[in-house]
């Protein structure tokens, strides 16, 4: 068995993920039974049993959401600690690029958290009515989430099982082949255009949200999070590290940088999640979600202020840009 699979952090992580998967499997089987037999108008023993079991599913999902959120943070910590075992890796960025499963796994985790949050928003709305009007929608959503989590669990094992501790990896400053001469930014953008897009999309997000243009808001938000990711890694991040060649999404999560990455990425992703959830519920389910949208705008504004603040502070202290 590989050295990686025997490290304490990986054992704890994989065991936790497996237990969660086991719990979700129970919830999945119950949900399938509920979907087949559910008849809210009935006062039969079977229906009452299904209603009690629906509460069990809700409890499991709430628990899974909380643990999955904490496990995402732990996952970053775990792969960061593996950088000692993987040649060439200086932080989590090197370890995550150690094989083809790494980035896929990270994307799946972000996607799952979004869908779990969406499920909770729908569930909350459903419980505010007296007759569970969204019960089938949220149950089918959970079935879909379960399938994605099943894939994620498989990718978890594939990723950690295929990290080669003998083969050197690229890390931070050479991430995405930047030093090999290739432009790492999407669509051949340069940094200036990237920044213009970053601020323009932020304005578009704010304007569409405040003028209740729901579809425009969702589209602008998706474009913004995409551009924001590259902007942080290839521009704002360098001001956090105060090093123009340090392009890493993970190092800012470390103690050396006062864990500021949790604030930066947290504000961006939680803001994006809440914004998308408010849009999905308003467009798809015709449910007003102003509060979530306003919280999303506040978080995205904090994110933009933080990013801009690092550049401004650096300039004020040093009199030059990087």
């Amino acid at each position: 068995m590989s050295e990686i699979l025997l490290s304490n952090q990986v054992i704890v992580y994989l065991l936790s993920e497996s237990i969660l998967f086991g719990l979700l499997l129970i919830a999945f089987i119950i949900t399938l039974e509920i979907l087949i037999k559910w008849d809210f108008g009935s006062y039969s023993e079977q229906q009452f049993r299904l209603e009690r079991r629906a509460y069990l599913v809700m409890t499991i999902l709430l628990f899974v959401f909380v643990v999955k959120f904490l496990l995402l943070i732990y996952f970053v910590f775990a792969i960061d600690s593996l950088s000692l075992l993987v040649p060439g890796a200086m932080c989590a960025a090197g370890v995550i690029s150690a094989n083809d499963y790494g980035m896929l796994l990270l994307l799946l985790k972000l996607l799952i958290l979004f869908f779990l949050l969406l499920w909770m928003a729908i569930n909350r709305y459903d419980l505010q009515a007296k007759n569970y009007p969204l019960f089938r929608i949220k149950s089918w959503l959970f079935v879909s989430i379960f399938l994605v989590i099943a894939i994620e669990t498989g990718v978890d094992f594939a990723y950690f099982g295929h990290i080669d501790t003998l083969e050197p990896v690229n890390c931070c400053s050479t991430l995405y082949g930047q030093l090999e001469g290739a432009n790492p930014l999407p669509f051949g953008l340069n940094t200036m255009i990237l920044l213009i897009l970053f601020y323009l999309l932020y304005v578009a997000v704010m304007a569409s949200a405040l003028s209740s243009q729901r579809v425009s808001f969702m589209v602008a938000l998706l474009l913004f999070v995409f551009i924001a990711y590259y902007s942080v890694v290839y521009f704002f991040g360098t001001y956090i590290y105060e090093l123009p060649t340090h392009n890493c999404p993970f190092c800012m999560l470390q103690k050396e940088y006062y864990y500021v990455g949790y604030l930066v990425w947290g504000a961006l992703f939680v803001g994006t999640y809440l914004g998308l959830i408010s849009s999905v519920m308003e467009i798809g389910l015709k449910v007003e979600r102003n509060r979530e949208r306003m919280v999303a705008l506040a978080l995205l504004s904090i994110f933009v202020l933080l990013c801009t603040g690092f550049v401004a502070i650096y300039y004020l202290r040093n009199g030059v840009f990087l």
């Binding site: 006062y43 039969s44 023993e45 209603e51 505010q128 009515a129 007296k130």
Partner: protein
């Protein structure tokens, strides 16, 4: 279901499962209680009175069957709604009083009003009139732990009345009281009946056999209702 019915119970069953053992606590209960009625559920311990009362009050859910309160089915309400239902429509009085011993009588009575988010003036007014009705105003600032059994029961009555519920459910209310205090409790219950409250008392206390204002005595035996003795509307 008649037009004046405030509680309607149809084909209600409740059972508990412990391992392979299935214990049927309520068996096919059908009962209709009219607005303003006072009903005494009589039966020995273990006959299912408390379980039936808990289901009527939304504290427990049936295994099958329907419970309608003012025409609305409460047996399938989500938790959020069942809490609102209890806070608005039900006042419960328990055998063991269920007071917070370290809180004063006033504070205990105030508790059901917390979710209503009333102004302090409104809360004070409601608590004061409720304590007065239960004849326990003189102990308003005493902590519940220092009160006698009879006084505790009167605080429990005040708490049950404070949100002005239409239905008062009493579970063995005199089981921990001496005869004098039991008679005082019954006197207060009579006043509530006169005020138009619907009252359901689950008890095996013989004092309730001669209750002058009870409209019906409904005997329970082994989880079933065994007829009903109508005493005629007073």
């Amino acid at each position: 279901m008649t037009e004046n019915a405030i509680i309607t119970i149809e084909n209600l069953n409740k059972h508990f499962k412990s391992g392979d053992l299935l214990s049927k606590v309520l068996k096919d209960i059908n009962l209709e209680i009219e607005r303003g009625e006072c009903i005494v559920l009589k039966g020995v311990s273990g006959s299912g009175k408390t379980t039936l009362l808990s289901i009527m009050g939304g504290l427990d859910r049936p295994s099958s069957g329907k419970v309608l309160v003012e025409g609305e089915s409460i047996s399938k309400l989500p938790d959020l709604h069942i809490s609102h239902f209890r806070a608005q429509k039900i006042g419960m009085i328990f055998q063991h009083f269920n007071l917070f011993d370290h809180l004063t009588a006033t504070e205990n009575v105030m508790i059901p009003l917390i979710p209503a988010r009333l102004s302090m003036d409104e809360v004070d007014q409601k608590v004061h009139s409720s304590l007065k009705l239960a004849n326990i105003s003189h102990k308003a600032e005493s902590t519940a732990g220092r009160l006698s059994g009879g006084e505790k029961q009167r605080v429990a009555i005040a708490r049950a009345l404070v949100s002005d519920p239409a239905i008062i459910l009493c579970d063995e209310p005199t089981a921990n009281l001496d005869r004098d205090n039991s008679l005082k409790f019954i006197e207060i219950l009579g006043q509530l009946h006169e005020m138009g409250k619907t009252i359901v008392v689950a008890t095996h206390d013989p004092l309730f056999d001669t209750l002058s204002f009870a409209n019906r005595v409904v005997p329970m035996e082994d989880g079933s209702l065994v007829g009903s003795i109508s005493k005629g509307l007073q």
